[in-house]
Symmetry: D2
Subunit: 342 residues, 4 copies
């Protein structure tokens, strides 16, 4: 039997940290040997998160053994601990926004502070496996994509790569509340958000530059985009649905477009074309992204609906997928492909 | 004290029928004297809907006394009973789609059958009070707007009337499940829809022609629209949020646009500009529409967020608002303006 | 037309405060002239709560004019401001727990601090209108019942008053999350509570002594109770369902029991016997309590199911009902009897 | 590598059928080779349930190869097909109620029809693994427990086995709506059930005799129970929480009771004592049962809170657990122990 690879989680008390711990329990090769969190040091992980049957695993202060480290800290905090982890010879998948953008000035503009280690940005690989698989193999540092960017980029990359749409794009996204994490706020207070929808980030959401960077890279001829991204809160815990709109360059049938998308993701085990308009819940608990590209024939617009579980393909599952590739394992090792429904 | 006006409900066992009965209990002048439904004849209304404290009111087969009749039947069925109600001298507010479109051919195209009484289409008034207040005063037959059209038209009419946007428009709408009514289907089966979102009607939703008709009428110079409307199911009972996108003709500040909208709805007691991005739940149980117009300055796009309660302003409340105008009462008589939150 | 009575709300930014403001808008005689809150002084109430179309009403620091004051502060804080309000000649309905218990020692035991003005406890009337209607007429200070006690006491009072059950009672209650108020906590964080149920207060919930006090008073012969009360969080915003269990003293048919309950509440406009097992949502937004008493014939146990809206009959609506009685108005003035469903 | 064991699902289009297919994908030894359903013959399973990435697996009419068959049909229908499956030499785990009761008369009384093959009732093993592990090893036919019985029996068996409680027991259970399956009805229509709770089965729920049978078997001295079971609908998809109440025979501390429970389930990998009052969601997607036994010291009552995922430990997961034992595999093979939270 193959040897196990030791992995650790920094910031295990976050939702993405807990989800990493849950998913790693089913992994054939990764062995969760360490989990840190300032607030819960010394506690059993199964007391912090009683849903986890992790037995004697105790939350510690610092990573000591793990070869692969998943960092589940807020942006800013992540960039503070990562240089040391790398210096100690570990490989890092960072779930925060700190290593997603290539340009430190864009980072400073959207995150309102200078990047603490801009020299690492060049090296970091953007961890959207479906687009950057080969770079990930040797990566030492991965900037794991945001949840909205994952759903949106996967929805639009094939159309942009093939040049079938004009660069004026609207992405209207709906997210479950777990995307806001575990930090208390009226924005994720039960009675405020339940049975209600609202748009937010209307003045500009921080995931926008990440999407612009990757969509521009994916575009056939690097055309500059006119891109509007509007996220919405949906009264559910998990799930992102992104509805993406762009004008077609020339008329195309729906079956042409489905063929083009199927071809683009032929070797991607987690991206599937849905047989009909997909529900976010079809992806719950899984690392899958379900796409449904279609055409409004009256208006000659491409519409692509994209669904993921924001905590899995939009965060912790994708991080494990990255680590699988980094370690030369099968991309889908230990990751559910089927969703939990209902 | 002023005399009461007798009103009746045809199809009281539907959600919109029950909501009419609830709202009418608080009305200062309308007296619900009759409620019909084939399936529940002879039962107390308070047994059919135990939430209603309507005492001895019994469901009957046929309208006999009411001066004003609200018809809450499915499309097709409504048009079958309405000619007789009119012939008996009653005035009718029809909550179905049967008298919303002016053109019988458009009706036949989208509803897949010939209109049974096309001659009445000319006479019928489209019951969006904010746009057709004066026509409603003398109306004998009102086609009460659909829930999506109400939210969307109120969001876009000011911008189109003032000519500040180009006619390429996208409306991405999210609705609570009660919009699908009380008819059983997997599409409103609890376990299928809960904790999930999906887009539907991607091949063309029946509310589209109604919006095109009214938005074209509202537009400054009647420009022909290139209009895409995509509805989504949201896991909540009530509420519609429409997010509307259109390119600006020329740069405008957010405050200019807010002023323009405030001016347009100055005399409309149910339409308010929200102080910040509104939640659907702020309108729950009320007849209000909350609008939030803003600008994506990077892309020069107008974005208007619009919230209503689909069963009140999107159906039964609006029907009563129409009837208020028809009877020369204050437009807001008996209708809640404040939402039930949380 | 009758003169209006000026009322004020202390602590208007709480959920019960907002709900008072909403309900008072529909009241024929009470005029909301003042609303205070330390955190929101100087703001328009309609900015704090955009669901409220309260126009120019601004949040202030102190009550100055109101004849009737509703106090919607946390326990402890309420008892600090109420003596002054009374000294100024106002009448007070306190929605906190500060004036519900008659015995200052019981208060100290359960609330972990001495009662600041125990002399007022003698005077205060427990505001469960159905049981204390006559005392309320002249009351200067009312301790408005808790939400769980309202549902539970109304469920059990008839059976205890008639002596048909033994005094070993279990009340298993389920509440929507709004019962926990607007204070941030993991216990009302959306992602923690959504799609989940749990029991809480297993070590003793603070509403217990209040129920014991009132159930003992209601009991035919003042038998001492052996009473277990276990509340549960339900993943919904509003609503309480209490399922109450007690052994019958002697066999009784279901119809006997329904007759006994109907008789007991004959003059109570807000308490109704449900025609079948009631849903909490049948009471949403209304001041009604729906009761369904039945018998487990195999075990000879009385089971009473009781439903209310915790923010209306369980808080703000009941407070207005008390004030109606205090002012000699019809008990149901301005209060919805029918629930908002679906 | 160990050989795979071929398994099949009869009635794969039900929720429990789909859940079996999902869980079996992660099983190390069971190979899902066949899935039948009259309504979906010839369709890809991944079209019927797009959440399932089951590739080319097509729904068929009849089981042909499977050594182990999971029957996910309604009661009545299950008993019609199972004799043939057994005659063909297959081993069967039946998820319906058809083989849970030992006494055919009890079956006839509660299910309103004669049992079609009463001779098999003697042979069938009640598949609650924690209580019947040894009988399951050789079983040819297993009656997989109902969801409510699983939660309730596991909660009460230790106390009854040790004789620490009196036989007057109340179980107040709350279930997610998926327990009602996929058959359309107003009882699982989204808008009716969302944001609402109600009690049902007040006239006697069919799971009652199953609980009485097993609780009596578990009881130290076979005392006859006085047992009341009341289920409630909770507005969530998955999860059961049972709150069980019984008087203590003599005073016991909470730690004594926790020790007794821990000892009872020492060798049961799926039953854990929760460190604090458990949430149903801590078990979501897992085969775990979380127990929290405690004491109301004032009333000297034992209270046990029990949580499961009704579709996993309450149905499909438990069925696989049974099959694991039948095949001599580790009891937990292929079954998640940790829950998906949030």
């Amino acid at each position: 039997m193959a040897e196990s690879i030791s992995v650790g989680i920094v910031g295990v008390t976050s939702y993405t940290g807990g989800e990493l711990a849950r998913l790693l329990q089913q992994h054939p090769r990764f062995q969760l040997c360490e989990a840190t969190a300032r607030s819960a040091q010394g506690q059993l992980l199964s007391e912090v998160f009683p849903q986890l049957a992790t037995g004697p695993l105790t939350v510690t202060e610092q990573i000591k053994e793990a070869q692969i480290v998943f960092v589940a800290l807020p942006h800013g905090a992540a960039a503070e601990v990562i240089p040391d982890l790398l210096a100690e010879g570990r490989r890092v998948v960072d779930l925060s926004a700190d290593f997603r953008l290539r340009d430190p000035q864009t980072y400073a503009l959207w995150y309102k502070h200078e990047h603490p280690c801009p020299e690492l940005l060049k090296e970091a690989v953007y961890g959207l496996c479906e687009l950057h698989r080969s770079e990930l193999r040797e990566a030492r540092l991965v900037g794991n994509p945001g949840c909205f960017p994952t759903a949106t980029i996967l929805a639009l990359a094939p159309a942009l790569a093939k040049g079938i749409i004009k660069p004026a794009i609207i992405a209207d996204a709906k997210t479950g509340i777990s995307g806001a994490g575990r930090t208390l706020s009226l924005n994720n207070h039960y009675s405020e958000m339940n049975e209600s929808m609202d748009a937010y980030g209307l003045e500009g959401h921080r995931h926008t530059p990440e999407m612009e960077q990757e969509l521009t890279r994916a575009a056939k001829n690097g055309a500059s985009l006119r891109f509007t991204f509007i996220p919405h809160h949906a009264p559910m815990t998990r799930g992102i649905l992104a509805t993406c709109y762009a004008d077609l360059v020339e008329p195309l049938s729906e079956s042409d477009i489905r063929r083009l998308y199927a071809e683009f993701y032929r070797d991607s085990p987690f991206v599937r074309l849905a047989p009909r308009s997909p529900q976010t819940k079809w992806t719950a608990g899984s690392n899958s992204c379900l796409l449904y590209p279609t055409v409004d024939q009256r208006a000659q617009r491409l519409i692509v609906v994209s669904c993921i579980d924001n905590l899995v393909k939009g965060a912790s599952g994708q991080a494990i997928q990255c680590a699988n590739i980094m370690c030369g394992l099968p991309e889908e090792a230990g990751l559910p492909v089927s969703g939990m429904f209902p």
